[in-house]
């Protein structure tokens, strides 16, 4: 009876870890898609209305509810207090964070021509990162989830 309970627990823990890892990859995709959506919105606002980034963040966060809005609000506060924009999100990879931070840093000194280039570059880079993240989600996230579930079953069999 005890073996069964231990085996079931091990199986559940392994499956839970697998789901957690899968979620990690999914969340990266979600965050990057949110960032791409923000870039599209900001690009239109900056291009047509020459709206500054602080106002763009306020307008975007007021009109949308996404995973990223909390971090955008933090970035706005960092800019207003004179600090370098950073993002401390566990779901994002190092290069995702670098892209996010360099976008906001670059806007500070981007004139009307260079802001267009900055937006195009950031949108293209984000698109590439989304492709990579989706590939990782499929190849790694789902695979790990399935392997962990199988591993859990294997552990249960061994324990029994």
């Amino acid at each position: 009876m005890i073996r069964l309970a231990v085996g079931a627990t091990l199986m559940a823990v392994a499956a839970y870890i697998g789901i957690g890892i899968d979620k990690f990859y999914k969340m990266r995709v979600d965050y990057l898609k949110d960032f791409a959506d923000f870039l599209g919105y900001a690009s239109r606002e900056a291009g047509f209305l020459k709206t500054d980034i602080l106002r763009i963040i306020s307008l975007y966060c007021a009109s949308r509810s996404s995973n990223l809005t909390k971090y955008l609000q933090q970035t706005k506060q960092q800019l207003e207090s004179g600090n370098a924009p950073t993002i401390d999100c566990v779901f994002l990879a190092k290069k995702d964070k670098k892209l996010y931070e360099s976008f906001f840093e670059g806007l500070k000194s981007a004139d009307y021509r260079t802001q267009e280039k900055l937006f195009l570059h950031s949108i293209a880079e984000t698109s590439e990162l989304i492709k990579e993240a989706e590939k990782n989600k499929k190849n790694k996230g789902e695979l790990i989830r399935k392997l962990m579930a199988l591993g859990g079953v294997a552990l249960m069999v061994i324990v029994l």
């Binding site: 900056a46 500054d52 602080l54 806007l107 500070k108 000194s109 981007a110 004139d111 009307y112």
Partner: protein, 269 residues
């Protein structure tokens, strides 16, 4: 930076802060200059520019091309540095080395001295050298005129209305068109806003004469200001200006900012 400045000089009466790269920060309190015991650094200048542009230089590029950035509350920041010219015009600055931060003031009732002009309003030109209080006067006149007329202010530099975060009370009958050149919006205002009086700050005689003529021709009254220290010199150099105005009010910063030196009637109609 502002806190550091007000810690060594009084906030009241502070009208100007000048940052020149590598040189001591200078301020103007009233008409008196004062040099402060700290040096303007690149970081300090870039920080002011970043904040004033909302951390987005592109959003203020058109203003920078004209040599200034407007900041909330009607603060105007003059910029100077290494310009970039292209196709015969200034497209921006590669390095901004000097800033002149002009802090506006509101003095309610300062136009009471001109109540005779305000009560029977005819086209009026405020003539003033820098630092004589023309924007403060024109703002108060607009407020007073709006009690009896529909007033539209074309606030090219965001100084009269203050722009976003404005602290000014202009009453309930003032419309403000802000942050765009007068030449681009005046025709639309005449056609669609039905103003009785249009207020224009800091006329540029070369650029803005066409809109002055258009307003004058359309029967809308005009309150405007222009830089000069003498009405005689102005009318000699630019006689076509005077014929559009009934009154000229010359301001001076002596004995104090906002002093009325003379009031001239240009024409008798």
């Amino acid at each position: 930076m502002y806190n550091a400045i007000v810690s060594v000089c009084p906030e009241q009466g502070l009208t100007e802060i000048r940052l020149r790269l590598g040189l001591p920060v200078a301020v103007r309190v009233g008409l008196n200059r004062k040099v402060l015991p700290f040096i303007a650094t690149k970081k300090m200048i870039d920080g002011v520019v970043a904040r004033a542009t909302g951390f987005s230089l592109y959003s203020r590029q058109d203003e920078i091309k004209q040599g200034f950035i407007h900041y909330s509350g009607g603060i105007r920041i003059g910029v100077a540095g290494k310009g970039i010219a292209e196709g015969g015009s200034l497209v921006g600055f590669s390095e901004i080395d000097s800033l002149n931060i002009r802090l506006p003031h509101e003095i309610k009732g300062c136009s009471d001295r001109l109540s005779n002009i305000i009560n029977n309003f005819e086209n009026t030109l405020i003539v003033s050298p820098p630092f004589a209080g023309k924007t403060t006067l024109i703002r108060d006149m607009a407020r007073a005129l709006a009690k009896n007329y529909d007033v539209v202010i074309v606030d090219e530099r965001g100084e009269i209305g203050g722009g976003e975060g404005s602290i000014y009370d202009l009453g309930s009958f003032v419309d403000i068109v802000g942050n765009v050149p007068k030449t681009l919006v005046t025709e639309g205002i005449i056609r669609s806003m039905s103003p009785e009086i249009i207020v224009l700050d800091e006329l540029s005689p070369e650029k803005d004469m066409k809109i002055v003529e258009e307003i004058s021709r359309s029967g809308i009254k005009l309150l405007a200001s222009v830089h000069s220290d003498s009405i005689e010199r102005l009318t000699k150099a630019l006689p076509h200006i005077a014929r559009h105005f009934c009154y000229g009010v010359l301001l001076s910063n002596k004995p104090s900012i906002g002093s009325i030196k003379s009031i001239v009637r240009f024409r008798g109609d």
